[in-house]
């Protein structure tokens, strides 16, 4: 075994240390990038985190108003699904819908039908034009928002009268029902609308801006008073924060998708097959060593220039040149056969008599002159026949 021990290592694969040395720069860069991304995300997400959440103490959270309500004996419960919100609706309950625009049309209709005539109060925080039509029929949102945020009540609603000026400036609404209370107008369009239910003593309140509920602005103007009066009219407050994970987001009356109809065994079996496909791809992707490069030799055919010249003749219809070349080469070949020196091959007076003398059946001397020394052929057919005739003449001369 001593010989094996002395064998020099021929391995060319990188060792684990080399792999680490090579990749640590990239790994370090990736880690830095990840850390930076997380840091930026944490910093940037601060301001919008927990908006309108009664558990949040952030700038835009609503913990303060929930605490104030608790002091006054109003219990606050947070729900995130439509089913819970519907179940909670009742005559002794205020339902606050935090961001009505996040609900789908189907959910909005469902919520409206579930809460209408429940006898309780429904408070919609800054619904857009499409949501307000479904959730509070009889109220229409104006596309132009209010310029001022602080407005004075200017209406007969007792809560608003007591609260005085408040930060309700946001989306502006018009009520089409005569029994609706329109408060806090900005340019004659209200930013707070109370629509009583058609039966019972329930009502729907539409609020143009969420500012009065924020921790940050609760203590300004009459915000706190307005918020407490609007939310504290019933002993229970249900705070509905619409979430994307709500299963009711898919409309129940929609057609079931292809995947809902498949038995789950097929789906999971396909997932396992997909894993197998990935393994197969990895199996096929790994090569047994890299390709070997090699300089290729030059590949030029030696006859390329001649072929090019032939194509040029053809393109230019150079029948004169072609015929001259063919005749000249035939004359050069014929001259030694009939005993004329090659230097005299292109002289008709030397070649033609010798040729006629040599031939077994001397033809027309004029025709032979035209064949070997005549004018260039007029068209391609004549050129082809000229070549054939020259061949025939040569065969005739060569015949013993």
């Amino acid at each position: 075994m001593t010989t094996e021990a002395t064998l020099p290592s021929t391995s060319a694969s990188p060792t684990a240390r080399q792999v680490w040395t090579r990749t640590r720069g990239v790994v370090l860069a990736l880690v830095l990038l990840l850390v930076a991304a997380v840091a930026i995300a944490v910093i940037r997400s601060d301001s919008q985190h927990g908006t309108l959440d009664p558990r949040s103490v952030d700038q835009y959270g609503s913990r303060a108003v929930a605490e104030l309500l608790a002091d006054r004996g109003v219990s606050t419960r947070v729900v995130t699904s439509l089913a819970e919100a519907e179940a909670a609706a009742g005559p002794d309950t205020t339902l606050l819908v935090a961001v009505p625009d996040l609900l789908t049309h189907g959910q909005q209709s469902q919520l409206r039908s579930g809460t209408a005539d429940s006898g309780g109060r429904t408070l919609l925080v800054a619904p857009g034009s499409s949501s307000v039509e479904r959730l509070a029929p009889g109220v229409v949102a104006n596309p132009a928002t209010s310029l001022d945020s602080t407005l004075s009540p200017d209406c007969a609603l007792p809560a608003a009268r007591r609260a005085g000026t408040a930060d309700t400036g946001g989306i502006r609404y018009t009520a089409t029902r005569p029994d609706a209370d329109e408060c806090y107008p900005s340019n004659r369009l209200a930013t707070l609308v109370r629509v009583p239910d058609r039966s019972g003593d329930g009502d729907t309140v539409v609020l143009g801006a969420p500012d009065i509920l924020y921790n940050d602005t609760l203590d300004e103007q009459g915000n706190a008073s307005l918020a407490l009066q609007l939310l504290g009219s019933r002993p229970h407050l249900v705070w509905y924060l619409p979430s994307l994970s709500d299963t009711a987001a898919t409309d129940p009356d929609d057609e079931k998708g292809f995947f809902d109809l498949l038995p789950s065994g097929w789906l999971w079996g396909t997932l396992q097959l997909f894993i197998a496909a990935v393994l197969a791809a990895l199996w096929r992707a790994r090569r047994l060593g890299p390709l070997v490069p090699e300089n290729l030799p030059v590949a030029i055919r030696a006859s390329e220039t001649v072929e090019g010249r032939a194509r040029l003749y053809r393109k230019a219809n150079a029948r004169d040149r072609a015929a001259a070349a063919l005749r000249s080469t035939t004359r050069t070949r014929l001259a030694p056969l009939v005993g004329v020196p090659v230097t005299q091959a292109h002289a008709p007076e030397a070649l033609l008599p010798a040729l006629s003398a040599h031939l077994h059946s001397p033809g027309d001397g004029q025709a032979m002159h035209a064949l070997l020394f005549g004018p260039p052929p007029g068209d391609d057919t004549a050129l082809i026949s000229l070549a054939d005739q020259l061949d025939a003449l040569e065969r005739e001369v060569r015949r013993p």
Binding site: M1, E4, A5, L7, S9, T10, S11, A12, S13, T15, S264, G265, W266, W268, G269, T270, L271, Q272, L273, I275, A276, A277, L279, A280, L282, W283, R286, L288, G289, P290, V292, P293, E294, P297, V298, I300, R301, A302, S303, E304, V306, E307, R309, A310, R311, Y313, R314, R321, A322, A323, A325, L326, S328, T329, T332, D380, L383, I384, A387, D391
Partner: protein, 436 residues
């Protein structure tokens, strides 16, 4: 690390239990976790590739067209048996197209602490040096699910020599040479100009060759024998410029020239002449000088092995100067170059007189049989134009050859198959005429 098809197949079969018994993440985990564990075990049990010892032995040179065997010895110093696929990688032109994969892959098993040999059979398709690339080994575990893969570098060079296909002409040319030498049993009187020896007269000898003075000293009639000159210098000049790159048939002109040069060198070294080689385009590509008769052919073949045509115009002036420097004595200079009109008229002709002053010049050029075929094409317009162009080209070649002949150069213009015998004949004719 490399997966095998078996692992993928097992994963695919796992979709049945997942789909039938336990659809869900538990089922997926129950199938894939044991598979992953099995793969890990397999990987751990496979012999490590890094610690294998590899050495090479075998052929270092091969004629183009023959096969060379290069042996790789794999030593397994580990305590685990090695079951492996091995790829002995060489450049693509080391094998016939289409056979690379089969020829380079080997499957082998080396028990722990033992060594095994695998032989890679090379069949190069081009001249030159072939250097082995990496040896890649994929070592499988007992289950054949996951393998270790690694590479080793075990350098080896196989020099691919010119095929020298024209050596089949050598016996006939040597017989002709012996006739010239006056050593044949036919007892024809040797042609040539150099006095060789006296020998006893046998009936049939030319009476004119009786040396009367020697006869007077001896009791028998003595005749003089003559032999061609010996110990002449021959300089083979290979033009490796752009004109040698053009392909005639399947090989560049340079290869046909080399073949002819090798036959001439073999013949001349047997005839007792000294043969040198110069390969030149704008600088010296190869120079073989002052070799003994027994050594000249191997050194020529070796020098020619790595020559490749260069895509530059040959500098005829410096080529001439180098040739004159390489041939200080009166020599036969064999120029293996082209007869194309432009390079000859602009390059060679102006400086030809410097060469012809002291030396005998033999110029050999490779003709293209394809052009000869084109010249006889008939039947349609295209063929006739091709015939005309080919006739024109041939006429130009003849004209150039005539010009060279007027300068006293012997010109050989033949197709690749005929060039080597034609050049040998021209050499023998010059030798017979005593013009060396």
């Amino acid at each position: 690390m490399a997966l095998t098809g078996r692992a993928a197949l097992l994963a695919a079969l796992g979709s049945l239990p997942v789909g039938i018994w336990d659809p869900g993440w538990t089922g997926i985990l129950a199938v894939n976790a044991p598979l992953a564990v099995a793969c890990a075990c397999d990987f751990a049990l496979a012999a490590p590739v890094r610690r294998l010892g590899l050495t090479r032995s075998g052929d270092t040179s091969v004629r183009l067209g023959d096969t060379a065997d290069v042996t790789l010895t794999i030593t397994n110093p580990t305590r685990r048996p090695l079951r492996a696929h091995l790829r002995d990688a060489w450049p693509p032109s080391t094998w016939l197209p289409g056979t690379e994969v089969a020829a380079s892959r080997h499957r082998l098993t080396v028990p722990a602490g033992e060594r095994r040999r695998v032989t890679t059979r090379l069949r190069p398709t081009r001249r030159g040096d072939r250097q082995s690339d990496r040896v890649t080994i994929r070592s499988y575990g007992p289950l054949g699910l996951l393998s270790r893969q690694g590479t080793h570098t075990v350098p080896w060079t196989v020099r691919v020599l010119p095929p020298f296909t024209s050596r089949k002409h050598l016996p006939s040319k040597l017989a002709r040479l012996r006739e010239l030498d006056g050593r044949t049993s036919v007892l024809t009187r040797g042609e040539g100009t150099e006095f060789d020896s006296l020998r006893e007269y046998v009936p049939g000898d030319d009476t004119r060759s009786i040396d009367w003075r020697a006869t007077a000293r001896q009791t028998t009639v003595a005749v003089r024998t003559w032999r061609p000159e010996r110990d002449r210098h021959i300089l083979l000049v290979l033009d490796t410029g752009r004109t040698s790159a053009g392909r005639v048939g399947d090989a560049p002109r340079l290869d046909a020239s080399m073949d002819a040069a090798l036959l001439l060198a073999a013949l001349a070294s047997r005839a007792g002449d000294r043969v040198d080689l110069l390969a030149y385009d704008r600088r010296v590509r190869a120079l073989v000088q002052g070799r003994t008769a027994g050594d000249v052919l191997p050194s020529l073949v070796n020098a020619m092995a790595t020559l490749e045509p260069e895509l530059v115009e040959t500098d005829a002036r410096s080529l001439t100067a180098t040739a004159l420097r390489s041939a200080p004595r009166r020599s036969l200079i064999v120029l293996l170059t082209t007869l194309d009109a432009a390079p000859v008229e602009e390059g060679l002709l102006p400086v030809l007189s410097q060469l012809t002053q002291r030396h005998t010049i033999l110029l050999a050029s490779v003709a293209d049989p394809h052009i000869a075929g084109m010249a006889t094409a008939r039947g349609n317009t295209e063929s006739v134009y091709e015939a005309a162009a080919a006739a024109q080209a041939q006429a130009e070649r003849h004209r150039t050859a005539e010009q060279l002949r007027r300068h006293g150069v012997t010109v050989v213009d033949a197709t690749p198959d005929d060039l080597a015998p034609a050049l040998a004949d021209a050499y023998l004719a010059l030798k017979a005429a005593g013009r060396l």
